[in-house]
Symmetry: D2
Subunit: 462 residues, 4 copies
């Protein structure tokens, strides 16, 4: 029996491949050509036939790859029965699928979403000892799933989730390997451990969420502060009705200067500079968003619509394809191309260049101390809750800036700041795009600030 | 934290890579250039520094890669204290090493070998809950380690092993991931499950060896029948004193016909045809051993000495490098080359060809029924114990044939037979080399025989 | 400027990629997923846009990949104007395309086919000095194209070809790199050198076909004896009207025994064993064709129809995908699967096995000398013309056997023989399939026979 | 016959692999692990034995890989006889080596260096028609070799070179493929075409150097202005006596912050930031040199000594290994490590950051027009000769700045400028390191300036 974790950097999402005796199942595949190919290659290298694709739940942060894998393999898609999926077949409590001497049984474990399933894997030789459980977004290593996304309200969902975990999952005993759908860094939870997997018994003892009474748990979940970026709704719609097909999707084309310039001048086109903030600071094209490469799996979803035309400016040409892979995971499929040769091609042609001020925290502090600069804290509410730089900081999640430009402080230079400087630079680039002069990004952000032992402020109402 | 299993096909051996926060440890690395490179690449890709190399025990079936990995990384080698290793530093009961927020504690778990350790991995955040245990050859998925190799006798070793498992390992609780040094197919045990890993709790319930009382366990271990191939002693010597260095080892050279012919005519050179038996049957070079590619990790050790010159005849040129990788794992380092173009190069030059008769079990049965053929069963004693083809079969382990040629039945054709036809063909090629005419191999062997529902005989004294 | 040769083993076909300053053209791409990917990857790695796909002529031995590449890149297909292609745009004598500072001019060079073009590449800086010429099947390294395929007759075509070479190509001077569409081993010509490319000046001096007077040349071409396998007509039809689309083509599926057995029992299904003849000899499945892997680019086209269902039995599972790639080059797209685990899976299940006698030339000679065997020479007419083994051999091209079974000598064992034993084994497997007992293949064939200095016979009327 | 070009980006150097019938020769291999592996892999994939390693001359811009390849293959090294090489065997005029049906004849073609050879490749079937010539640094596509490096003076060398080309090479006729040792971008010549190879006949017509009379040629060569960076002498010494062995060379180690900080504080250690200038501009570590990744094959040789300890700060971790490969080509082997996580790791820890001003040419012009800035033109003399930005620019080759700091204009901000901004940033980083405040780099450099149609000045005496 093989059990493989296929990890998506950027998304921190986990797909699993289970196979034995020539047959296999895939759990929660993603829609990205490379991810799909990896699944097919594992099956091919071991001469295994993929019989089932099992969805733990309707995901919000990426689109399902199950229709694509099903098309290429003839496998059957199964998912929870509490949502009217337009594809695949439902699994109800206790339903089973079998392949290669293994059985997977579905447990209905709502709370994160109403149709969430936990899959329990058994070796048919020992039909009553779970080998592994696939918990989706219900139970993570060191954490539990969000309860703010499903209808019904955080509190009711938290009660449901508590019930799912304590009445359905924990009774499975200590011995099963636990395989969640996300690891540290995902937008689908907070406080996850950085181990890729765990065991149910280990979580029982070490997962802080499992040490709480029902009331404590519900209170804790109600107090969790997450943002719900607009693309979640698009993902949900796609994942209910079937995402746009992957085949036929075009990869971005390397463009010469003329073609690139025409493309970025088109109305509504988003120019995204995927270089790190320092490079953006040293020189960039006016009007570009600065979303670092690793953020391309999330922030285009936060800032743009799925059908927006996105043109890329990479640090290296090949980065454009990585960025595009990330975009394909969220079905942002309208990526005509990128500038071959990147920013240097632009610069060497004598075209105009803008600079972004990049401040160290030392420089920031000096300016703040002299009152020379305003501070925009673009982190998430749950980060604000853990402290910030100065009491007067304007708190505005990076995804909200474009809609709240009138609330941005004017009159003096403004520093956009996050935890390390990535989202800060998205924020600063948005400010610059909107016509605000003297926007700065803070390199190292709140992390560097804390390392310097500079004073920290609290935002009690954040 | 990452925990990666690096699997050696052929050996069915497991190396583990554990890493977190920029630091790493490797457990039981093998000495093979590709395996070493895989370890270095994992560290490199994640920018991790390998601080420790941990040996669970002195292995018998391959040579340690720890000196090589230590040389390339500066890591410290640690191993058990009950053998006078000429390299590395000893770990005693309770000794710990720490790296990247993780701690590994050594448990002395003798039985398979006197210095065997089980390593217990802890996340320092939860210092009393084992994350994973690395059980070496002490405890396997579905089985336990051999007790016939260490000094002291099978029975005493079995008692020691029982104690190690029940007093040291099982008290660690149910929740730890269990990571043994071998999987199904290894020569270091029998009856292993085909899952790559398990949990301690799962094994407690599902491992048949753990369901036995002490006396039952000891009796079962004493009744286990393993062969001890001669290379085990060489591996032990190498692993105690340090194996020959890998750097400087030459890979085999592609030879033209003249060079190849000169090489195989040298006194003492072993010509090994790594094609499958059917191909060997259709045509081969007189005097060649037929060891199928997958068997090259084991059977050269059974048949040859570590310093013998081994010349290869591959199905495809590239197979020669795979065969050589397998040989390098057991420090069989004297592999001057192989024939470019393989058997067809030989055949097309008009050089003489021999054929080997390949019998289906149907054909075998017909011949046996008519008394036209003798049968040599070249499997291991524990396989004989589970039944065979005909009462009159001569039982002779494939590794013993060359030393017992006088016991081989003469006077009529003889069929060499094993479980599927691989070792059978080694045996048949040895018979032919020794001048016996009319040697046959049985395609499908005992496996096919059973599928045909032909009568099965018992060898009560095997 | 880059100029890359993309070579198809098996077909011995050459595709060329020319690129400069961000733009590129591809000459004669093939329809195979790996080949297409290689083209896209070259363009991608260098950030080049493929503007043109240039066809030298309508090929007979594989299907065009130009529609596929055009679909994926937006490039324009150009080809000769003397055939009513259903896709692309015609190029007439002197027509040019330009990209990246380069110009390609078309020369009409009929003879091999009526619409054959030779493309001449110029650097626009030196507009009158050809950098390279792409001669398609008109002029090869050391040879010239066949004249037996085009309508009009060998002799008239030879005159046309002579004119094309001497009046169109040779006047281009000595200095151009010469890039033909085929190398040694192609079915599109004979006597080609094994250099991948040459210069026009070198060929003028070294190509024996260019040393002949017009009459000598025409006589030589008229005397050339080629076979015209049936798939040539299918390829021509596809290449005129557009081949079946590649996207949507399924790769073969690894099958278990039951699925495999059901597949090969279907009426009309062709079971192809792609192992080398020695392995086929040692054991095979009754009714299988034995086409060695390297022959899968040609002989399925010779023996089967494009829509026949082809099921594969590979030496290793991965070989099935190589075989399928070769099949996809000739649009043989109906390849449902292969047996996972290959012949050993079959054999180990106790299923029935057949053997094929494999003779060395020594063994063949002994049998011939005693009159114990008949000989079927399955080579091509032009090979017969160069000599054979015995005067009484029955000459029958391997592609003709199935249609001429009544002419196969009966009454004694029969040896199927070719140049080395590959086509011989195809022939022997066909004989066996047709119910002829005691068919043999000759390992090493005529090549080994000559190496032994055995007497050679002439077939004056072959 | 295969003829493969193995190209080193960065160096623009060409190694060639020639093979046929199981034997091969390599021309001018480089000492870099990846390059050596590529050679061995080509030989391995085709089952070829490398018999000869042929050096065209003692190179100045990288170290020879011939001793390494010889050690790994047993091949014989051959080189010119007019230098007392401490390894290999000399070839004199007309000496030949043969392998695989091919012959290579040496022509003595001094001028670039006294022992320079041109190798002429023949197919033994046509012993008087050259297939290809390997011209080393004697004759390039569109150019000829430098004459300023050999003893004897530019003029005498130019006469010798003219003689070598016109009396030795051109008489070989038009038809040979021409394979030079360098392509566009090399420091070993100027004005090379970007085609990887050519034919001798094409060069006769298109190479401007071959259109000149002897006197014109000598005058042109004497007027060529090249810099001779100090590492050339080290390379010459290594290449005469044998470079340091590659085996045992350590690859750089990924370091944590503490280890990195300790390493860069060591006296004499060079910290090299391999990011592009824009990123360096946005934030960098005080005291670091900014050598963009592509420049790492040359500029460490210009600025540092071979034994200097070089610590790297990469844009991405993997870039450190690319930088190290480039360094290994010039035997700069003392590269202890790099900072894992790069600049962001530094910045996020709150450590101090410096910024470099990056000017667009528009911004530069505005400042120059207002007299607010001085200009340091760090290009090479031959580039100055073709024009520059302002008459008052201080001309100082980037390799000379550290030795001429007292000549750097003080008193106002200073912009370091080259052709595109890469060397400019090296210069600006040197200025900053030397304590000059307000150093700037010019993004796009003279290339962007010209694109803007800004006025150009001449430096008649440069």
């Amino acid at each position: 029996m093989i059990l493989k974790l296929l990890k998506a950097e950027g998304l921190a999402h986990h797909t699993y491949f289970i196979g034995s005796k020539g047959e296999a199942a895939v759990i929660d595949p993603r829609r990205e050509a490379g991810d799909v190919k990896e699944i097919l290659d594992i099956a091919r290298d071991r001469c295994m036939r993929i019989k089932y694709i099992l969805e733990t739940h309707r995901n919000e942060d990426f689109v399902h790859g199950s229709p694509e894998v099903a098309r290429l393999t003839g496998a059957t898609i199964r998912h929870g029965s509490n949502l009217p999926f337009k594809y695949g077949e439902p699994m109800k409590e206790g339903d089973e699928v079998s392949f290669g001497g293994l059985t997977v049984r579905a447990l209905e474990t709502p709370g994160h979403t109403p149709e969430s399933l936990t899959y329990v894997l058994y070796d048919t030789t020992f039909p009553d000892i779970p080998v592994a459980i696939f918990t989706g977004d219900t139970l993570f290593v060191g954490s539990t799933g969000r309860t703010d996304l499903a209808p019904g309200g955080k509190e009711a969902n938290a009660r449901t989730l508590y019930h799912s975990i304590h009445e359905k999952i924990l009774p499975l005993g200590d011995t099963a390997l636990m395989c969640p759908a996300h690891g540290a860094g995902s937008v689908c939870g907070a406080g996850m451990g950085d181990r890729d997997w765990s065991t149910l018994g280990y979580e029982k003892r070490a997962n802080p969420h499992l040490q709480l009474s029902k009331d404590e748990f519900v209170r804790a979940k109600v107090n969790e502060k997450f943002v719900i970026p607009p693309y979640f709704r698009t993902m949900e719609e796609y994942n209910l009705n079937g995402p746009p097909p992957l085949s036929g999707r075009k990869t971005p084309r390397g463009m010469g200067l003329a073609e690139f310039e025409a493309a970025i001048r088109k109305d509504g086109t988003k120019l995204v500079d995927t270089r790190l903030p320092q490079a953006y600071g040293g020189g960039h094209i006016a009007g570009s968003y600065n979303i670092w490469l690793g953020g391309m799996a999330v922030f285009p979803g936060v800032l743009f619509n799925a059908r927006d035309e996105i043109v890329l400016l990479p640090y290296r040409d090949q980065d454009a394809y990585t960025a595009d892979r990330y975009l394909s995971r969220i079905s942002y499929d309208n990526v005509p191309g990128f500038l071959c040769g990147g920013f240097e091609k632009w610069q060497n042609s004598g075209r105009p260049i803008r600079h972004m001020g990049e401040l160290s925290v030392e420089e920031l502090k000096a300016k703040l101390d002299k009152g020379e600069i305003a501070l925009l804290d673009v982190r998430e509410p749950r980060e604000w809750a853990a402290g910030g730089i100065v009491p007067g900081a304007r708190l505005m999640y990076v995804g909200d800036i474009e809609g709240r430009l009138k609330d941005v402080p004017r009159g003096k230079p403004i520093a956009s700041m996050c935890s390390v400087g990535h989202r800060g630079s998205i924020g600063a680039s948005i400010l610059e795009r909107s016509g605000i002069e003297n926007a700065y990004n803070v390199l190292g952000g709140f992390t560097a600030w804390k390392h310097k032992d500079y004073p920290i402020t609290k935002f009690p109402n954040a």
